[in-house]
Amino acid sequence: MTDHPETASQTAGPYVHIGCTPNFAGIHGVYPEDLGARMITGDATGERITLIGQIFDGTGTPLRDAMIEAWQADANGLYAGQEGADPHFSGFGRCPCDAEDGSFRFETIKPGTVAWPSGGTQAPHVTLWIVARGINLGLHTRAYFADAPQNDSDPVLGRIEHRVRAKTLLAQAEGSGVYRFDIHLQGPDETIFFDV
């Protein structure tokens, strides 16, 4: 088969909200609800958690115009669309960062472990994808849970050569089911991004 080159990415720009979260942007009456506004759509199984954070640029300033998406398995480690997946959990969330302080927030459940292709399992994680003005290709990363015992045997975390950076993929528990996952685009705490 012929190989066709992938279409090039371009920045989402400062007005990404118009297309992706129009109700957030004040454009009402086109879509009834912004896509990805709710990850829990019913009586979902599992531990309710809140994943929060901010995205910082190389000067330490939070991005106030970014959009972040989350994709994760349900409490049993199954993704929406897979046989037996929780029908009350979409697994997909989309959050425009707050226009004042740049914070994002996902009301979700703690995911289960999922399979690694060549055997074994991956520790619970939430895939995150970040786009914004100034970001030319969407940034792909994962939030793991700092208090999860499975992290020690996770094959992705195990691949990190500079061990000092592994902590950039760990969401820290703040109590009451809240986990904080701050993202740094540059600097000494630069988050590990993936080209998976």
Partner: protein, 244 residues
């Protein structure tokens, strides 16, 4: 036909994409990661993705001419149809892909509180729409030709006319946001955002040609924009099935 077993997604090739740090696009300077990314083969976390059904769509979602203003009123500007096909890198159609689009109005003004351009808003134009590809990967929507506009970067930078696209394929590994440009626009090759793509052919693939065949006579011109997403490799098992 039985389900064809598929392997992981082929790796994303950097030469098809813009560089992260492109100083002429000034905002990229402090927002571009500097460390090398971590590579690993796609797993179920990237090979699955949210699935959106046609029940998501309202009747006017793919009609930006009419999906914001009052009944029977149309947006101002040159009327166009944008259509094309979404395929993967192996040429297979991507059915069920959700495309979300957004754009400035015909005067180059966005409906957004952070927008400061002096061109006026159009009371009949919101600037967003969405469509899901059919079984053959095809899609189509109606809108107005967006205007070019100045933006705060260099002292006198202008964006070429463009429509933003957000695309969901079958797997989260295919997630993509891009911009479509219009054939013949002299601003394309002067734009620092376009310039962040170093390969001329990759830029040219973002430029939609006028498509007279699909033009609606006495109504709207048509532009064609085909999109290619990453694809999943076939497994060895499949190759043997094909009789190698």
């Amino acid at each position: 036909m039985t389900e064809i077993p598929k392997g992981g997604y082929a790796a994303r090739l950097p030469q098809n994409h813009p560089v992260a740090l492109y100083p002429p696009y000034r905002t990229s300077v402090k927002r571009s990661p500097q460390a090398a990314p971590l590579s690993f083969p796609t797993t179920i976390s990237e090979e699955t993705g949210p699935v959106f059904g046609h029940d998501l769509l309202g009747p006017k979602d793919a009609d930006l001419l009419h999906n914001f203003g009052p009944q029977d009123q149309s947006a101002i500007g040159p009327r166009i149809v944008v259509h094309g096909r979404v395929q993967d890198q192996f040429g297979r159609p991507v059915a069920g892909a959700l495309l979300e689009v957004w754009q400035a109005n015909a005067g180059g003004r966005y409906r957004h509180k952070k927008e400061g351009y002096l061109a006026p808003l159009d009371q009949n134009f919101g600037g967003c729409g969405r469509v899901i590809t059919g079984p053959d990967g095809s899609y189509e929507f109606r809108t107005v030709l967006p205007g070019p506009y100045p933006w705060p970067n260099g002292p006198n930078d202008w964006r070429p006319s463009h429509i933003h696209f957000s695309i969901f394929g079958a797997g989260f590994a295919q997630r993509l946001i891009t911009q479509m440009y219009f054939e013949g626009d002299p601003l394309i090759w002067r734009c620092p955002i376009v310039g962040s793509i170093q390969d001329k052919a990759a830029v040219e693939r973002l430029i939609a040609p006028l498509d007279m065949e699909r033009t609606l006579p006495m109504d709207a011109r048509a532009y064609r924009f085909d999109i290619t997403l990453r694809g999943r490799r076939q497994t060895m098992f499949e190759n043997r099935m094909e009789g190698l």
